[in-house]
Every structure is written in C-alpha cells, then in structure tokens.
Subunit: 412 residues, 2 copies
C-alpha cells in the first residue's frame, strides 16, 4: 500500500483542506492519506478552536485514513522545528511522499533552493546568528539571512508564508535524510490570512473568526466546511459549551506571572531577551489577554512569537523540556489519534517495518514528551465546566478514534 | 501614653472582640489599643472573608487605635510561629502589655506553665521531635509532648484552643525576651468553634458561616457585630460583589498542581511527607476545593495544616522563603495598616524609640517579606471582576487608613 503524508493543523478542517487532501492522493497515486496534526495548541501559539480528537474525527470522516499527533514540543515552535517534528513523525510510518500546499505550486524550485542553501549553509547560519544578536525576531532574522544567500529566489518567493513552510519541510526531509518524496500543490483562491469568507473556500483564520464572533456555526461558515467538520464542531460545542480562544486562559497566565519569580519565569521556553521583566511589570494591571499582548508587544517580538511564549508559560514548558529536540534524529514514539478501517489496514502492513513504538494509549509510553502532552491537555480543558473537564481529561488518555467503514463513527 | 497590644484576625470583627478590646483597655489602664492583625490569609489556612483593609477599618471605627500587619510569613503558620511574629510586631511599637482571651482567664497558670516548660525544655523538644517522626501532626505531637512534661496542667488546661494560643504568646514574650506584660481575660459565652449564633455574641466561625451561606448580612448576624463591621462588610460587598472563601481559588490550585513538577511542588512550605504525590495524583479529577481536601485528608494531616499548605501553594511560598523566621529575633520592618488620630499621636511619641522602620507604603521597604505580602494580595483578589482586581491591587500598596476624630472615615 502506498501512503501519502500531509502536515496539518485543521483548525478547523475545511473545504480547502478537503481539496488539498484529494489532490494529494491523486497526484501521488496513493492508497491512503496519513496526516500528522498539531494537538491542542498550534504552531502560531494558540489554543485550537476544538480539541485534537474532534479535529481528527472530522478529517477521518472526510478522506483522511490515519491521524498522528505532532508532539507538543515540536508543534508550538518556529517553522524549522515544526517541520522537523512533522517529517520525523511521517517517516516513522514510512509514508512515500509528503504533499504540501504552496503559493509556488511546483516542487522543483524548492529542491533547487535547498541545494543552493546547502552550498551556502555556513554563510546562512552566521548571518542568521548575527541578525538574532542584533535583536531581530527569528522569522525576520531568518528571512534576512535567506536574502543574503542565493536561493534561486527568482523561482521561489520566500516571502510567501506557505512557501516558507514548504521550504522547511523539504529542508527537514533532506537534513534528516528521510526517504520521502516531497510534492506540492498550488494553493487556490483564499490566501493564508484572508479575513473574509468568499465562496466555499475560506481560510481557517476567517472561519475561526466567524465562529468565535458568533460562538456558533452560521450557514455562511457551514458552506466552507465539510459536513464532518460541522458535525465535530457542533458535537464539541454540545459537550463543552465553548469554542476555545485565548481569553479564558488569561487568569491562569496572570496568576502564574504574579506568583512566580523572575528567575523561574526565565526558565520558560520562549522567554528571551528580558521578556520576563516586561511580563512581571505588566501582569498585575493587565485587563485581558489582548490588552496584555499589546502592552508587551514591541518591534522586537512578533505577535506569533509572544503567543508561543504564552502557550509555554501556560503549560509550564521549560527551555530544558524542549532542548533535546534540536539534536534529536529519531522520535521516541509515534502516537496515533485516530484511524479508519483502511488506515488500520495500512498500519498493519507497516508493523514489521516500524522502528518506533506506536502508541494508542497515553499510558503505553513513558517519556517526558508524553508527560508534556498530558499536561497540555489538562491545561487546554481548563475553561470548561468542571464535570466536563474531568470527562475530557479521561478521554485524553486514549484509545484512538476508530472509524470502521460501517459505522464511520467514534468507536473504541 | 500607655499602650495595650492585642493579637487578632478579626474575621470579622464582632461583639466578642469589642468586649475583649474594652476589657483589655480597662484591665491594663491603657490610653491606646494596638492590634497586630493577620492580613488576607489567616492562621488556620483560609482567605479572610473580606480584605485586611476593610477588617482593619471596622476595628479602628470601634475602639482600636492602631492596626499593624502581621507579616504573611508569620500569619499562616502553626501557633508558635504565629505568636512569635505577633509579639515581635507589638514589641516594635513598645506596647506595655499583651492581653489575650483564654478559657483559663487568669495569667498566673500561664506563667507557671512557662516556667515548668522552661525547666523541661529539652525533654519537651525531644518528645516533640519523636512524635513528629512517628507521623503525628504538629498540634498533636506538641500536645503529646506537653503531656509528657509537667506544666502544672491542673491549673492550665492545654486542650483548650485559646489556652494553647495564650501559652504560645506567653512563651514568645519570654523566649524573645521582650519587655511586655502578658494579661488574659476569660472568654465569655460562645466557644471558639461554635457553629450557631446565640444572643449577641457569636464566634467568628458561626458568623462567617451565616454570611457565606446567604452571601449577605442577615439581621441575626447584624446583631452580633458592631455597626462598623456591618459597614465594612457591606462596603466590601458593594465594591467587589463577593465575600471570600476557598472555592474560587480552586481552579488556580488545580492548574498549579497539574502543571508543576513533583520536585517543584515539594519546595512549597508545608509540603511534607510526600503530600506532593497525593496532590498530583488527585488534581486532575478533583471537583471542588472541598472534594479535593477530602481526597487528600488522612489521619496524618489536620484539616488546618492542609489548608495552610494550600495557602502557600496558592501564593507560591517556598520553604526557603520562610526559613529565616525560625531564627529571626527582630522583624525587618513594621507595617501599619491603619490608625486613628489618637493612634497617630501614640506613634508620634514612639518614633524616637523605634528600632524598626515603620512602613506606611509598600514601596517604602525592600524586603522579601514585602514581596510576599504583595504577591499574597495580588492572589487574594483573583476571584474579583478584573477591573475591581486592579483597583484593589492599587489600594494594597498604601497608604494606611487614617481616621481623624472628626471624619471617622477612610482618609489618606
């Protein structure tokens, strides 16, 4: 069986994702599609609108065959580390290809750019470091460093967000020396950050904005998502009463900053350049998460970088917790969030070839990354009613979702 | 001017306290009465029903002349350390006497018991340690140790809660070698822990219970408190909308335990004998503060001891933060929460004799204990609406309450 890998967040899974999934399968002539998905907290430093189980279920009901969890320690990171975690995860299940969406739409410029990059890696690294030392944020420092070397940028526009991500995936595949073929599909219609919903394809950002504005799924939104996503969103809202966003976590962040010492705050991953002093000074009188963000924001930090720091602060993830991932060349485990009957068949064929333990229950593994995963889930559910929190925490430990071809519903 | 010192919590200030205050003044023929009062968190490990400013104001309006703050590091402690902090605070303002309420009602048995104790101190200490090692709680271990030595217990019944506290005060005066004369007044009518309100004198416990049950002050309660307390309670409720109790702090405690490591939890003051493991195990699925308390309670820990641990956990107060108080023989400062015109006159007469800085604003001092005070206040106000939290945090930094004989209202 031939497997195609996708790197996703599905926040939430929408028509654009469905299109990408189907095109990827066609383009690579694959039997199954395997997604590696961020968990409850996302790459841009935000709580997902609904939890990973419900996001995975929506995808499994509309074309995805297996959903793997991108460990938290890789998910809430800048593009290069995010990509590394995702590629290592897909490689553990021996996917033949990885297909990503890009503004570029053709894989050759990515590969050429990687070769150019490799030839000038030392120059790049020293430029990057110099820019970081000058106080530029990572994305800025990295873009400036790319500008200093020739990456065939005439062909690959590295100011486009999906080209940047795509380049990171290609880079991760080659850097980690994985036998995966990269492929890309041109993104259609709606841009990455488009705020408005047009036609039946809209960006996840605009869909979330509409949902959070109404705390409900209006027909306008419903037309941009598959039925399975509508079902998952309504199901989540029915169970928990909410969709997640930053504000309900504000009291915990504020409490933590007010009661922790500067020394302890400085151990948090992403707490750089004296940010802990700015936080401490502003915590007591901050009025909301948004208000606090505006108070600590300077040119030096991107909004995304500050949000990621806040996720790590919320989950108490330290620099030491994540330091191992820089040098890691193999994951400690692969955790499965859900599968269809066909997905299970594929997993069965791979069992003998898998080097990593495939976890379906949280207790099957014993690793720092899993402790962090559990802590992140425990924290994610804090805004819910207490009885519901307890139910959701029980769900977190497993088992994965299983959709048989008959039921296509959550099983055991 | 002659000053009489009282050691109080006033949670809230009630008719029994008024009686005690007046009797103490008469008995010692004093010009002014000075109270040292616990702040926002109390000796038995609870948030005070209203904050220290409103409790102090009620007392200043009905007979008290100066209210000093018992630093948090001494207030949320077992009787001996609580007493030590209180005596050091009163001594810093050179009060001539300390008058406490007791079941006994005569000071001689306390003094005799102290002398007996002093003669057998080594036996006592080794008995105490042995009992602690056996796993008895501090109050139990200490009572058992007292039983093993002869304290003239025929005269002083050390099973009575106020006799125990009184003995701690007498012990602190002599141990710290302070020139303060201890005096006692027999407690009348209502017992320490009486749950029901009888006549116009009721215990603070029963008054709190009624207030929290109704979240209002019913006439039955009103008859047991002076008008000034009624005023302060209503004023606090008007400003904040609430009276404080443990439950609203539960989410923060739960969050902290879920996200902190066992190692970090074990650094919290009061976290003894593996309690951190019990907490960690039960946090995720605890339904409320009361539910959690019941889950971790064993014979080994008294309810009070667990509550004190929870206060230190909430405020993130470590063993190291408080270790200095064991050996301290002088306070770093004296902080004044409020005074009347007469109180101010007394303070004026003492200025030259005072060894410690007298703080009226939080920023006037620079000491770990003050940082802890600020942190405790920031935390105490967490259950309030956000705008109100901010107002109250601003109030916390000072200045003290000043009641002139004309206004008898909060001034600057």
């Amino acid at each position: 069986m031939k497997a195609c890998g996708l790197i996703v967040e599905y926040n939430p899974f929408h028509n654009g994702h469905v299109y990408h999934l189907e095109e990827a399968k066609k383009k690579t002539d694959s039997d199954v599609v395997i997604g590696v998905m961020s968990g409850n907290f996302l790459q841009r430093g935000e709580p997902a609108i609904i939890d990973k189980w419900h996001r995975a279920e929506a995808a499994l009901n509309t074309g995805m065959d297996v959903v793997l969890e991108l460990p938290y320690v890789f998910a809430v990171q800048h593009a290069d580390l995010f990509a590394k975690g995702a590629i290592l995860t897909l490689a553990s299940l021996n996917t033949n290809t990885v297909v990503f969406g890009s503004e570029q739409g053709d894989i050759q410029p990515f590969i050429q750019s990687y070769q150019q990059y490799k030839n000038q890696e030392k120059t790049f690294e020293s430029e990057l470091q110099e820019n970081l030392n000058k106080g530029f944020s990572f994305p800025e420092a990295s873009r400036k460093a790319y500008d200093m070397i020739d990456l065939n940028t005439g062909a690959l526009d590295l100011t486009q967000p999906n080209n940047i991500l795509g380049f990171s995936y290609v880079k991760a595949i080659y850097d980690e020396n994985k036998d995966i073929k990269p492929e890309t599909i041109r993104r259609t219609k709606s841009g990455y950050h488009d705020q408005e919903i047009k036609q039946n394809i809209a960006s996840a950002t605009s869909i979330r904005k509409e949902i959070l504005k109404n705390m409900d799924i209006h027909p306008q939104v419903q037309s941009t998502i598959p039925a399975s996503t509508y079902q998952s969103l309504m199901d989540y809202k029915h169970k928990t009463g909410i969709f997640h966003h930053w504000e309900p976590y504000f009291p915990y962040l504020q409490y933590k900053v007010m009661t922790e010492s500067i020394t302890r705050l400085s151990t948090i991953h992403g707490m750089e350049e004296g940010l802990e002093y700015r936080l401490k000074k502003t915590a007591k009188y901050a009025q909301s998460f948004q208000h606090w963000m505006k108070q600590i924001k300077t040119k030096r930090y991107t909004w995304t970088r500050l949000q990621r720091m806040f996720v790590h602060l919320l989950t108490n993830t330290s620099k030491r917790d994540v330091e191992a991932i820089q040098t890691l060349d193999e994951l400690p485990y692969t955790r499965i969030l859900g599968m269809t009957e066909k997905g299970r068949a594929y997993l069965h064929t791979q069992k003998k070839n898998m080097k990593l333990p495939l976890l379906s229950q949280l207790q099957q593994g014993d690793h720092l990354f899993l402790d962090i995963e559990e802590k992140a889930a425990d924290t994610y559910y804090l805004p819910l009613q207490r009885a519901t929190q307890i139910d959701m925490r029980k769900r977190e430990v497993g088992p994965p979702i299983y959709l048989s071809s008959i039921t296509k519903n959550r099983g055991d």
